[in-house]
């Protein structure tokens, strides 16, 4: 379904079985499948956690928290059952990597879930896949059934005396559900609104039990770590940023696609060598480095290694691996508006700063882009956004505010060019804003 690409600089760890028919369990076994979980069955839980901790694996969903450390927060003793929850509700704009993992290598996720379960003492796991990915849910259902049939799941897995159950779960369309606490609400059959923390899911999660929630790519990275060792994995990347990651190149780039590159790969090289540069003889104007929630970088700011810490220092985020190139024919006011429309649509409405903030920002940006902006709006857009930061239960408010603040700061002149009733300088026919249709 989704097309595969390749580049000589790729280091394939998570993607090593892509294009090799690994959805078939026998083929997966030929390609080192389920070897890691066999090895993990012979390890002490703390040894598994330490291995993952030392590998420098950090959450691939976007937060970039050390995975082994996250696992270590789960209490050893618990009156309630513990759970592993795989977050496959991929919906961050610019991100299309988990889709490939489910499509090409579903068993690697199952294996990651089992190993996480062995590490924290859980005996069941759920793989939550977004509703739009129906064909992937079907691939996963078959993969799980095949694993049960082989005795890799269920009672006495691999003849070890341990039991482990894995279940699939499908969503029904909601960006917010990709947030860990909203994900649990959704799995429990409710509206996907976030929970206040603390308590953190590691202590009180699904149905009140301690729960480990990891992104699909994170879990698919676990079996290679167990097999290859923490040191090997850590050395693939940069200090504190172990391994590789799937970068999804999209937007104005010659060779869009999902490429697995080492952590710390230079962004400029990624755009011009791996991605083949900007099409139509255009110049790069901006880059969204890790999905639409991340502050944008200008074309002057791209000579840097792509790891969590460097991007943080550069005032942005590595995020979920969605690298979106924006060329100089693009109106940044329109781009900011498009991002804000998305967050306004997806805000669950639970926290007022996010619900009201995204709506007012969308209305202001709509009016502004149509030529009805006044100078004061520019500072107001920034002020409103800054007032959303850190004032919500979940990071959706921040996700809406951060890119907006960066666009106003870095492309202020484009906002000024829209003032005094002037039409958008980038639209050939002038700014045409369609009226919203309410269904």
């Amino acid at each position: 379904m989704a097309e595969l690409v390749s580049h000589p600089d790729e280091v394939r760890v998570v993607a090593k079985r892509f294009g090799k028919g690994a959805t078939n369990i026998d083929r997966y076994l030929e390609l080192d499948g389920y070897k890691a979980v066999r090895k993990a069955l012979g390890m002490q839980p703390d040894a598994i956690i330490n291995e993952v901790k030392n590998s420098g694996l950090r959450g691939r969903g976007g937060a970039g928290f050390n995975t082994g450390l996250k696992w270590s927060f789960v209490p050893k003793q618990s009156a309630k059952p513990k759970y592993i929850l795989c977050n496959g509700d991929e919906s961050e704009p610019g991100t299309c990597k988990d889709r490939l993992i489910f499509e090409e290598d579903p068993h690697s996720v199952i294996e990651g879930v089992i190993i996480a379960g062995l590490a924290v003492g859980a005996s069941s796991g759920y793989i939550y896949i977004r509703g739009e990915y129906r064909y992937l849910l079907e691939i996963m259902q078959k993969a799980i059934a095949d694993a049960y049939a082989k005795g890799f799941l269920g009672k006495n897995i691999f003849g070890s005396g341990r039991d482990f159950e894995v279940y699939w779960h499908g969503g029904a369309g909601a960006y917010e559900v990709g947030e860990e606490s909203a994900l649990m609400e959704s799995l429990e059959g409710k509206r996907g609104v976030p929970r206040i923390r603390p308590p953190f899911p590691a202590v009180v999660g699904l149905w009140g039990g301690p729960t480990v929630i990891n992104n699909a790519e994170t879990l698919a990275s676990v079996p290679p770590i167990i097999l290859g060792g923490a040191e090997w994995f850590a050395n693939l990347g940069t200090p504190k940023n172990g391994g590789t990651r799937l970068f999804c190149l999209s937007g104005h780039v010659n060779k869009p696609g999902v490429y697995e590159l080492p952590m710390g790969y230079n962004l400029k090289k990624m755009i011009y060598e791996v991605g083949g540069g900007i099409p139509n003889g255009r110049k790069l104007k901006a880059v969204v480095p890790g999905g639409s929630s991340c502050p944008l970088l200008t074309s002057e700011e791209i000579d840097l290694p792509m790891d969590f810490d460097t991007l943080m220092k550069a005032g942005s985020m590595l995020g979920s691996g969605g690298v979106v190139m924006v060329d100089d024919s693009t109106c940044m006011v329109k781009f900011a508006l498009r991002i804000m429309k998305f967050y306004q649509h997806e805000s669950c409405g639970w926290c007022i700063p996010c619900r009201e903030g995204t709506d007012w920002l969308m209305k202001t940006l709509t009016r502004f882009h149509s030529g009805g902006g006044i100078r004061k709006d520019i500072d107001n857009i920034q002020y409103l956004s800054e007032n959303m930061l850190g004032r919500t239960f979940c990071p959706l408010g921040d996700a809406a505010a951060l890119p907006t603040i960066s666009i106003v700061k870095k492309f202020r002149k484009e906002f000024e060019d829209h003032l005094e009733g002037r039409p958008c300088p980038f639209e050939k026919k002038g700014a045409v804003e369609r009226l919203p249709v309410f269904a």
């Binding site: 739009e132 509206r191 937007g251």
Partner: protein, 159 residues
């Protein structure tokens, strides 16, 4: 209210996956919608009854999820992505083209009930933009011509 045997088998199995009955609600609603076309009052009453929930509980959940609908839609729901990666590669033009071709706007349904049209947020096809889904099928690297062919194929599927 009768669902298919496959629905019933899956529903019964799903109930064994969770410690609470309610946990099956979201996927069950989507599977029910796939069969009934939309979540009618009758479907809502049925599912609420099966899961010991009030109809209000079920409606509260339905209104949250963008794929769930209480209104009838066309046989083929054409969903064109409008988010950033698609926007940069011509989503606006594609949306305009679809609206003209089908003669309907966002959330509209053609009079023959064959197609409905919707602009949607990111569907996870960013590297293959612009992209659309018709029901659950992905269509990627779209152009106006490719979209025409796809829509014609769905039209002939029915005949």
């Amino acid at each position: 209210m009768r669902f298919s045997d496959q629905f019933e088998a899956r529903f019964t199995e799903m109930l064994t996956h969770y410690p609470t009955k309610r946990s099956v609600l979201v996927p069950t609603l989507l599977y029910a919608q796939d069969e009934a076309g939309f979540l009618s009052d009758e479907v809502i009453t049925e599912i609420a009854g099966r899961l010991d929930l009030t109809e209000l509980d079920v409606r509260n959940v339905i209104s949250y999820y963008s794929m769930l609908t209480t209104k009838p839609r066309g046989k083929f729901n054409v969903q064109v992505c409008r988010n950033i990666s698609c926007l940069l590669r011509g989503a606006d033009e594609l949306i305009e083209h679809c609206e003209k071709k089908l003669g309907i706007a966002h959330k509209g349904t053609t009079p023959d009930g064959l197609f409905s049209f919707e602009e949607v947020e990111c569907i996870g096809a960013c590297s293959w933009a612009p992209a659309a889904q018709v029901n659950y099928d992905f269509h990627e690297n779209l152009t106006a011509e490719k979209m025409d062919r796809i829509l014609d194929e769905y039209r002939t599927k029915v005949q």
